[in-house]
Each structure stands twice: as C-alpha cells, then as structure tokens.
Amino acid sequence: MPEKGMLPPVMVYGPGVRIWHWLNALAVVVLGVTGYFIGMPPPSVIGDTSTLYVMGWIRFYHLAFGYVFALLAIMRLWLVFVEGGVTLQLYVPAIWRRDWLDGFIRQIKWNLLMAKPLRYVGLNPLGSVTMLTMFVIPGAVMILTGFAMYAEVAGHDSWQYFLFGWLTMLFGNTLDLHLFHRLAMWVMMWFVMVHVYIAVREDILSRQTVISTMLSGERQFRD
Amino acid sequence: MSQITTPNGFTLDNSGRRVVIDPVTRIEGHLRIEVNVDSGNVIRNAVSVGTMWRGLEPILKGRDPRDAWAFVQRICGVCTGVHALASVRAVEDALGIPIPASANSIRNIMHLALYAHDHLVHFYHLHALDWVDVVSALSASPKATSELAQSISSWPNSSPGYFSDVQKKVKQMVGSGQLGPFRNGYWGHPAYKLPPEANLMAVAHYIEALNFQREIVKIQAVFGGKNPHPMWLVGGVPSAINVHGAGAVGAINIERLNLVADIAERTLAFISQVYIPDLLAIASFYKDWFKLGGGLSSQNLLSYGEFPSIANDTSNHSLMLPRGAILGGDLTHLHEVDLKDPNQVHEFVDHSWYNYPDEKAGLHPWDGVTDMNFRLGPKSRGGKNGERIEEIDEGDKYSYIKAPRWKGHAMEVGPLARLVIAYAAGDKRVKEMVDGTLKKLDLPLTALFSTMGRTAARGLEGLWAAEKLKEEIAGLQANIRSGNTATANTEKWEPKTWPTEAKGAGYSEAPRGALGHWIKIKEGRIDNYQCVVPTTWNASPRDPAGNIGPYEAALLGVPMANPSKPLEILRVVHSFDPCLACATHVIGPDGGLLTEAKIL
C-alpha cells in the first residue's frame, strides 16, 4: 500500500463480515446487559409471582443470544474461508511480516500522539492484537463456560454436557465457571468501550474511514 | 518421678503397670488415655492425650467474619450449632449488634433442643454400654422386664411382647456371630452389675432412643434448615416470622410453630418417662460410682452461663443457667467470670504439641499463638518412623490439647458444673431436681461429685432443657402475639458500617461445657480467632505448675477389675462426654506454621 497520495476506495469487508459484525454487536450488547442482570439482578418486582417472569425473560434472552453469539462465531470462522482477504486478521495477527512490529510500535505512538499512523486495508497491528486478546479469546471463554453452565441445567445426558461437561471437571466447583464467565464479560465490556472509542476517533483523525467501512465494506483513504 | 503431689492436691504414681486405651471410642474425635495401675489394679496416674489437630486458625484468617460461624460450626458435628452460636455472638459483640427478642428466643429454642438431644444420645448411645451388658439381656425374662419397666415409668412401650421382640432382634444379631457395633464389647465383665431384665429394658430403650432422637433435632431443622449443621446468622436468625400475612407458608408460620411445639411435647415425655427412669434405675445399681471418678468436680467448676431470657443481656438476672466459677468446693461463693478480662482465661502449652514464645507463661485467647510442634518425650516408647506409639512421656509435650486455666486453676466444665453453679446461685427448679433425685437415691449432695454424679447431672439437665424448651416456645409465641416478629438486625450487616478494628468475645455453654470464642476483626476481615472449648478444659494436659486436668484427676483412685478390659476407664471418661474434634482444632491468631513439627 503506497503511503502517499489519494487512493481509490478499496473493498475491505465482504457483505458476510459486515452483516456478521452488526449482528454480533447486537448479540454482545444483549448478552452484556442480560448477563449483568443475571449476576446482579435488578430490584425485586412486586406482584403476583405466577404472572411475573422478569428473570425468566432476562435468562431467556441471554440464552437465546448466547446461541446466536455461538453460531455467529462459527459463521465468522466460515467467512475466513468464504471471503478471505483480511478476515483472518481477527484471529491471526501478521506477526511474521517484517514490518509488523514497526507498525505495532507506530500505532502505539500514534495513540500516544507521538507519531502519524500508517494506512491499513484491514486491521492495524495494534488493533489486531486487541481484537485477539480482548474479543476473540474472551469470546471463546464465554462460549465454553456458557455452554458448560448450560450443561448444568440440561443435565448429564445432554449434548451440552457431552461437549462441555469436561469444563466443570476442570474446575471442580462450578461457581468458578460463573466467575470466569463474568470476568470474561467484563473484558468484553472493556473491549466494547475501547472499540467504539477508537472507531470513532480513527474515523475522525486517521487517514482512512472506519465506521463507514463496516457499513459499505469500502475503505476510503483521505490523503 | 515415681510419686508426686500436684499443686491442685492429687497424688500421682507412675511406677505401676501402664495401660493404654487408644482409640477411646464412643466419643467425638480421637482420644488416647494412658494410666498406671498399682498392684491392686487401682489407677494411680493418668494421662489424657488428644490425638488430632485440624488447624483451622490459618484457614479462618482473612475471611469474612459473617462466614466464621459456618467454619467453626464444622469443629463439631455432634454438639452441632454451639460453635456457630458462640461465633455469631463473638462477631455481634465485636461489632456491637444487638439481636431482636424473637431471634433470641429462636436461638434459645434451637440450643435447648440440642441440649435435650445431645444428653439423650450421650446417655444411650455413647455411655449406656459402659453400664449395660447387651449379652446379659438375652437371658432376661420379657415378662419380668415388662413388670420392671411398668414399675418405674408410665411409658407405653412396656408390654412383655415388646421386650420379647427386642430380645429376639438382639438374639438374631448375637446368634449370627455378626454383632456389628456390639462386637468385642466387654460383655460379662465383672463390673457390669445390672440384672438381665434391667439390661434388656436398657437395650430396648437404646433402640427406641436411637429412633426418637432424630425427632428432637427437627426443631433445629425448622429454624436452621438442617441438622447436623443448621444455618445461623450474624445479627439474628435467618428464618423470618410471618404468621398473619400473605406468603406465610414461606416463613415461620403457625404450622412450623405447631410442629416445634409438638416435638417439644414428645421430647419432654420421652426424657421424663424413659431417660430419667432408666437413669435412676441404672444409678441405683451402681451406687459405688457415686464415690468414684469425681476428680476436680468437688473443687473447681466453671460455667459461662447460657440461655439469656432477655435478649442481649448476659447478666445472671437474665441467664437461665448462671455464669460463675466455684473454687475449692466453696458453694457459698460464686466467683464472677469475665471472658474479656486478660487475667482470667489463659492457655498453656508446656505439655501440648505447640510452641509458645515463653513456654511457662499462659496467654489470653486474644493473644494466643498456635504453632504446632509434635514431639514425643525422651521416656516415650515407640512412635519412631511411623511405628505404633507404645507409651507417651507425660513429662514432655504429650497432647494436641492446650491446658486452659481460669485464674491459674484447672476447672471442670459441663452439665455437673452448670447444675452445681445454678444450685449454688439458688435456682429453684434446679435445687428441686437435684435434691429430689438425691433423696430418691438416698445420697448426700457430695455424691454429685463423681462419675455417676456427672451422668446424673446430665440427665437432670436434659429434663430441665426439655421443660424450658416448652416455656421458650411459649415465650416466642408471646413475642409474636405482641407483634414482636423481627428476627434479624441488619443495621451493621454491610462491612462498610464496621469500625476498622474491633474485637469481641462470644460465650456459650455447649452440652459438654463452657465454650468461648474470641475474635479480632481488621478492615472487615478476621484478623485472628480463637476458641477455648469444653473438652479443652476437661481433657487438659498438665500445666507448667504441674496441675492436672479433670479427666486425669477423675481417673485417679478408680479400681479396675481387669486392666486389659478397661471398662472402668471408659465409664469415667465418657461421663464427661468428650468431644475431641472440638478440643484439638485449636485456633490461634499468629498463623502457626507447621515447619517445626518433627518426630523425635
């Protein structure tokens, strides 16, 4: 990618990744909010117990979107093969590239207002590492611990227990599953915080579009 | 040494034959007793060895004080709940949390139920086989047994057919050669004195009591959810009361209270119609045991008092069983007891498997240290490289139990101590019960200070508790009637409402005797925690001055018919109702490490 001069818009994200992104965003928000309340329920509701189902619905949406999140995770992996291009960067930072470390340092300097950013078609090196550590890995923890907890309800004969029951063995006490699930939730909330901020900031300050890219798929370079 | 006299007036002579009982069974936990008998098989030296240590102190450190009750409750599952009660009281004392009147009533009800249960189970299942010969029951005539039973009690299960069925059952067991828990018992031992009919009656009641005891503790289950190990709460009790409104079925309601009242009624019937008559019948055949095994009881007795009739009031005006100490057998003077006075309760480790900075000095529980140091003294035999320990050297450290002293004195605690102290304090009902019983058996007051006296005092206290249980349930109903239904004080529930540092002491009287918990709280967490429990007092080893504890003292002078079948030793030791898991968990503040432990 030339570092100087105006460039024509580049197609970065295929429609699959774009749809995935926004569905996933929705799932994360719903899961975050409902998950928070499952751990720390809202104030008690007064009324006829048999007609109320507040926690029930919170749990329902959490479980339903848990499945959505898990299916989206599979979809996203599938997209790596279907759409190719930069889609692998979410999972694999290109550390084998000669200039990767330079770019990583440059990006940190840019965030410290000490350098000018470079132009990237996909994720920048810092962004790629952040995605992996604060989204992909915690996301995997969420799916694993989530289904392991689901297996607790579904019982020993369930496929959830067959696939994820070993996690309860790993911890012995399943309270630990809940704990790790919650910790991973907070990591993802931190991620959402940083992700939204950086997206807005980069969109304003950097040399390429960010937010609109995830809508249209095209990245435009401004200088 | 061959013969010495201890400062508290007992003569010890270890020149005779050494007899070892390990494990002592029908107790809670692990205990070893060693004695020396003279040529006439009379015990002249006794050594009480606590042989387990669970080390809860480093475990409790840094935990939430509101959780402490659950941890310390697991010190003992027999007198379940007593440690939890002492613990919540210690935390409430430290943080200044008064509990509501109904919570106080519920705690009293739970604790009284435990007294009734524990004393009953101790008598029939932990102690009776010391007096009752199961095999002799086989030769009893069911008809004569029925006549005997009917002559001493109006209890309905007393037909010849009933006793015949019991006898058949026992015959089957003995005949099968698989005696189960009765295997290798001391059957036919010359120290058994009951006629076959009394033995059969007692065996029948052994089974009946085993079946009935599970009813009594349902009272604890109603308020605490389960037994053993019911639930407690700092600031009150967890069970809310709701007798009038919607959703009452989710709380303590009229049905629950009826259940409790019904059980209390049946408990009183069982104790007054089965336990007490059996106790008197057995005692009348073993009158010589009203002279043996008194030990320290005629001298020093201690009680922290129990059952506040007024919530949060621990004065003797409020306590149904008074607090106090008797020294030198002087029943006319009740000494004041204060758990927080740094000069009253001290623990010594000169003869215990722990280290102190100064081995000769005692430490108040708030400043106690628990630093395990297992070693066998130079005169011990065996025990090297995991071999069996043949003999302990009581001149050196010899027990996992510390030696607690009250103002320097070894003290006996337990039902006998409580009853004598209540007697000395002039409690009308206690006086009536004690005098009445002694009169029936034609014995003087001093007969109380004996093995059988201890056992009798426990029975009388069981009766007292069953009576009080009914009164206390009525008291709870009165509270509810006057709208006083609060069961928890949550003002200081949140740790942010607590001072940075606080310390408190919690008292209780476990069925086995005086129980104290001392806690220090720092920044919302347990900084240190210490318990001095009944069996620590009773099974105490020697202190630096050479004073022996109640077990050791009580065994002196007891004659044995056959030292290899130590029935008499079991009688004496069981009369104290030992609880070794209590005595030897030892919780102290300074994070005792175990690196010092070694076997010499």
Partner: protein, 375 residues
C-alpha cells in the same frame, strides 16, 4: 445353616416372599450375564451370604456424617445397623475401645478380604508424617491404607472424605487429603455434603445391598441418582427467581414471603445435591426453606468460594476484598481514564496548533514516514 444371618434371611424378615426372592435372583442372574442356569447360583449365594461387614473409620472430621446417618428416617439407622449391614467398626457408637477396637479392624480385614465395605468419615492428613491424626498410636493414614487395600468398595462420607472440606480449605495446614486421591485399585463412591443428607447416606448403602451393585457415578464419583441436579433447579422458590422477586435484606418483606435468596448469596445455582427435592430431617426443611441461602456444602472447595453472602466469590489473588465486579470496575476505570486522557490530549493539541478537528492526520506528527502495511 451358616452361623451368619444371610441376605436371604434379612430380606425374608423384611417381608419379601420366597417367590419374590427367586424373581430377584433371576434378574440378578440376567444382569450378571450368567443366564437362567445361574439363578440357582445367585439364589444360593444370597441365601448363604452373611450381612456385609462395614468398617467405618474416622479421620480428621467433626462426626457430623455419623450424626446425619443416625437421623435417617427410612430406613432408620437402627434398622440398618441391626439387620442390613454388620457395622463392626465405628468409633462413634461401638462398644469396644482400645486394643479390642483395633483388633476388630484386623479381624475383618483378615476374615472378609475383598468383601467388606470401608466407609470413611473425614480425611487423611499427610503433613508431618500424618501425625495430625493418630489412631491406636499410629498415624490414621496407616489404618486407612490397610483397610482400603482389601476393601470391596470405599464409601467416602461427606465433603471431608470426598474433596477435603474445612480442614482442607486454604491453606490446608495439615495437608488433609480426600480418600479418592489415596486409592487406586478399589472403587470409591463419594457422598459429599457437610454432612450428606441422612436418607442419601442410607440410600447409597441400601442401593448397594438391594441391587448388589455400586450406584452409577458421575465424573466426581458421586452417585448420579442423588447428585446430578442442582439445588436451584428443584428449589420450590425457583418461581420467585424467575419472576425476579428476591430477598434484598434479612427479614425484609421478601424474606417473610419466602422469596428467592439469590441476592443473599445462595449457592443453589452451583450446587449439586438433593436438598431441595428430598429435604432434610425427613423432609422437614432445607436451608433455603428456613430462610438462609445454600452455602454449597457438597461442592468441592466451597469454603474457598466465600463470602457466603455475596454472589461473587472472593478473588484473593487480586487483593483481599476483590471480586469479579470490583476488578472489572478497576479495569474499566483505568481504560476509561486512558481514553479520557487521550481524547483530552488530542483536543488540547488541536486547539494549541489551531487545526481543524476533522480531516487529514498529517499534522499529528512530524516524523518521517516508514513503509507500512503494503499490499
């Protein structure tokens, strides 16, 4: 006629007819895969088999398991002891003591090699050569090893024997070790709980005697029949949980109506036990029914998952008062702070250099450019 009371005699006394007995033997024979011809063999074995001897040893414990066992309503403990098993050794109730007691252990191991059941209450301390628990002048560890070696099966009563319990809580000063970690060749059945429910204990024993097989176990060696469902799933207050009706403080209106104790730290959702379905003390109550949350006493390491009154366990490694949410808030504050600082600094720099906010980033730095992510 053997001198021992046999299984056949026992069940005949319990009202089972000869016909039913033979039917049972036929089922057993089929299950054992020895076909119709084996019925006579099974029947003969049953008729002549003595009551199964049980050695009930005590390590570091509090005797709550024994006490719970005695609370069983069906069958009653007296029934089990007198006619179902031969409880030959149990320090809590046995008549013999000292040498006579020790002798029983040796005799049973000798006479019933591979045929007796070893029940263990409490666990085995390994620190200091095991001298934190001495039985018969030797470390309990030795007595346990000897009895375990020749047992038909081992029942680990309670959380102590199953997974450690209170004396094994951090930092486990006596190195108290659960039974299954010290046994390799003998089947171990864990029956956790502090204590286990009485009828679960007698249920496990009578299952073994009735069906002459060990119960099906889960990965943690717990009988599936009692430990495969959570307290939460069978809790009678579950409706209040689903409705969103919680006890918010002790003795509040919710507490007085029996609402859900989730917010008071109830461990029902992470505890596998039969409390909420079977109840305690013959169904009289269970902790939640009496207004206190479950503390998870049948779960491994439950002591180290406190405080019991908080939903989230302590995270000691993050500081003495940490839990997941507190750590999260600290993390969020740090990140939020960084974001705010960066945003503020960007703004200040823009204002100082007088540049427009929107547009080229050329002015962000004056450094020479290096080649970047070339495609």
């Amino acid at each position: 006629m053997s001198k021992h009371e046999t299984f056949y005699e026992v069940i005949r006394q319990r009202g089972v007819s000869r016909r039913e007995f033979l039917g049972f033997c036929a089922v057993m024979a089929t299950m054992l895969g020895i076909g119709p011809k084996g019925v006579a063999t099974v029947a003969h074995a049953m008729e002549t088999k003595p009551r199964i001897p049980v050695l009930w040893l005590h390590g570091l414990e509090c005797t709550c398991c024994s006490e719970s066992f005695l609370r069983s309503g069906h069958p009653m403990a007296s029934e089990i002891i007198t006619s179902m098993i031969s409880l030959d050794y149990d320090d809590t109730i046995m008549a013999a003591a000292g040498d006579q007691a020790e002798e029983i252990v040796h005799d049973i191991i000798r006479d019933y090699r591979g045929e007796y059941i070893l029940a263990v209450e409490g666990n085995i301390p390994l620190a200091n050569d095991g001298m934190a628990c001495i039985v018969g002048g030797r470390p309990f560890h030795h007595q346990f090893d000897e009895a375990a070696e020749h047992a038909k099966a081992i029942i680990a009563w309670g959380t102590c024997a199953s997974s450690g319990c209170v004396q094994a809580a951090r930092p486990n000063p006596t190195q108290a070790t659960p039974v299954h970690k010290l046994v390799s060749h003998v089947p171990v059945i864990n029956v956790p709980g502090c204590p286990p429910i009485a009828e679960v204990m007698t249920g496990v024993l009578s299952y073994i005697l009735t069906y002459d097989r060990l119960p099906e176990l889960d990965h943690q060696l717990r009988p599936k029949m009692f430990y495969s469902q959570r307290v939460h799933d069978k809790c009678y207050r579950r409706a209040h949980f689903d409705a969103g009706q919680f006890v918010e403080a002790w003795d509040d209106d919710g507490a007085r109506q029996g609402w859900c104790l989730y917010k008071m730290g109830c461990r029902g959702p992470t505890t596998y036990n039969a409390c909420s379905s079977m109840g305690w003390n013959e169904g009289v109550s269970f902790p939640i029914k009496s207004g206190h949350g479950c503390i998870g006493c049948s779960e491994e390491g439950f002591w180290d998952r406190g405080p019991f009154y908080e939903r989230l366990p302590d995270m000691h490694q993050w500081g003495i008062e940490s839990n997941a949410d507190k750590v999260a808030v600290v993390g969020a504050s740090v990140l939020g702070g960084a974001v705010a600082v960066q945003a503020g600094a960007t703004l200040v720099k823009r204002i100082l250099t007088g540049k427009r906010l929107k547009g080229s980033a050329d002015d962000a730095a004056d450094e020479t450019e290096t080649p970047g992510n070339k495609k």
